[in-house]
Symmetry: C2
Subunit: 192 residues, 2 copies
């Protein structure tokens, strides 16, 4: 039997879920970065995220994800076009995070709209396929010598700006999930 | 000879430096986390940071720091008391980041004051020695199942809130370094 505390915690988590906010990882390869991203997703209420990889499978570090993998679903694709099609069908704006010049400051974006955030690989950055079909490229300002931030850091900075805006709009104060799905998911997670 | 572009880049970096903002790493052990933290420090204009470690020496990953180690100075200590003494002598407020209950929301803090941010180890979190002597404990809100964020992610979220506040106050628009030190450092970095 699940403890009442555990049940309350799972319920609390689902009550704060943001079904219209997600992340797409464009060939992010290092397990510790993938894991840190999944962990940040959990904290801002993202339950489903997406990874595009040329590889057959991708790996995360259980430790680094701090258990978040258990509560989030990671969808794996081999083609960016497939996930873009899916997100467009859900009417999501597609924002590509990039450290290149000419991008919009990440704080000047409205994240209360249905939003998918695309982040790039450690070495190669954002792929051509990811740029193609994006609604907007966004950048975090930098004042030093390095050319880019760590990908899990950049992802978290943008997700917590989304959290700040959504909190201000009350989106963490009322159920965002479809009620039927909320009850079904609560049941499945609490009584696996 | 250094190229004019390189010189301009170094000058631009020093013009944005925030000498009264720093980070203290309380036994942060993993090289990739240390490196991501140094990299984030560089981007918000932190030139000097501090690490307390029980170990004799600490290691960073050159790759993960993306070259930031070359432009920042990391001071290593074995006792928290030593670095706290030094920071207090510089009139810095000491903020301890913690995922425990009862901390102040990190967005309700004034980071335009001279500020040292203390972050804890991957497993052990913040030490007793670090808690003792802190002016304030601060937390990043979390809405999911995991108990904490990755340490380099948590550090960056707080540093970029500081950057946001300091930008709004014009602190990135005018020289914050002492002018003599600015010219000396520019000379040293440009003509090593
Ligand atoms: C380490 S960076 C990639 C660097 C790569 N050499 C390049 O040229 O893009 C990994 C990913 O983190 C994100 N990122 C890093 N710094 C960023 C910044 N300042 N603004 C927005 N996104 C950033 C981007 O999605 C990027 O593709
Ligand atoms: C992985 S956490 C440490 C977890 C550790 N098990 C504990 O109980 O503290 C590493 C460090 O990141 C920072 N951190 C992580 N999540 C945070 C949050 N939500 N708010 C503030 N700081 C956080 C803290 O400095 C913490 O010591």
């Amino acid at each position: 039997m699940i403890s009442p505390d555990r049940f309350r915690k799972i319920r609390h988590m689902l009550l704060h879920r943001q079904p219209d906010l997600t992340v797409v990882m464009d060939n992010v390869n290092k397990a510790h970065n993938l894991s840190a991203i999944i962990r940040s997703c959990d904290t801002v209420g993202i339950g489903e995220l997406h990874a595009v990889s040329y590889r057959k499978s991708i790996y995360t570090e259980q430790d680094a994800a701090a258990g978040a993998s258990k509560w989030t679903t990671l969808h794996l694709y081999h083609e960016m076009a497939t996930v873009y099609k899916k997100l467009s069908d859900q009417n999501m704006q597609i924002l590509v995070a990039s450290s290149s010049a000419g991008c919009m400051d990440f704080r000047n974006i409205d994240y209360t709209m249905p939003t998918a955030l695309v982040v790039g690989a450690e070495w190669d950055g954002i792929s051509e396929a990811a740029l193609h079909g994006a609604d907007q490229t966004i950048a975090i300002p930098m004042f030093g010598m390095v050319e880019s931030l760590n990908v899990s850091v950049a992802t978290a900075l943008i997700l917590f700006e989304a959290q700040r805006q959504r909190s201000a709009k009350g989106m963490y104060d009322s159920l965002q999930m479809e009620p039927g799905l909320f009850h079904q998911t609560l049941f499945e997670l609490a009584y696996p």
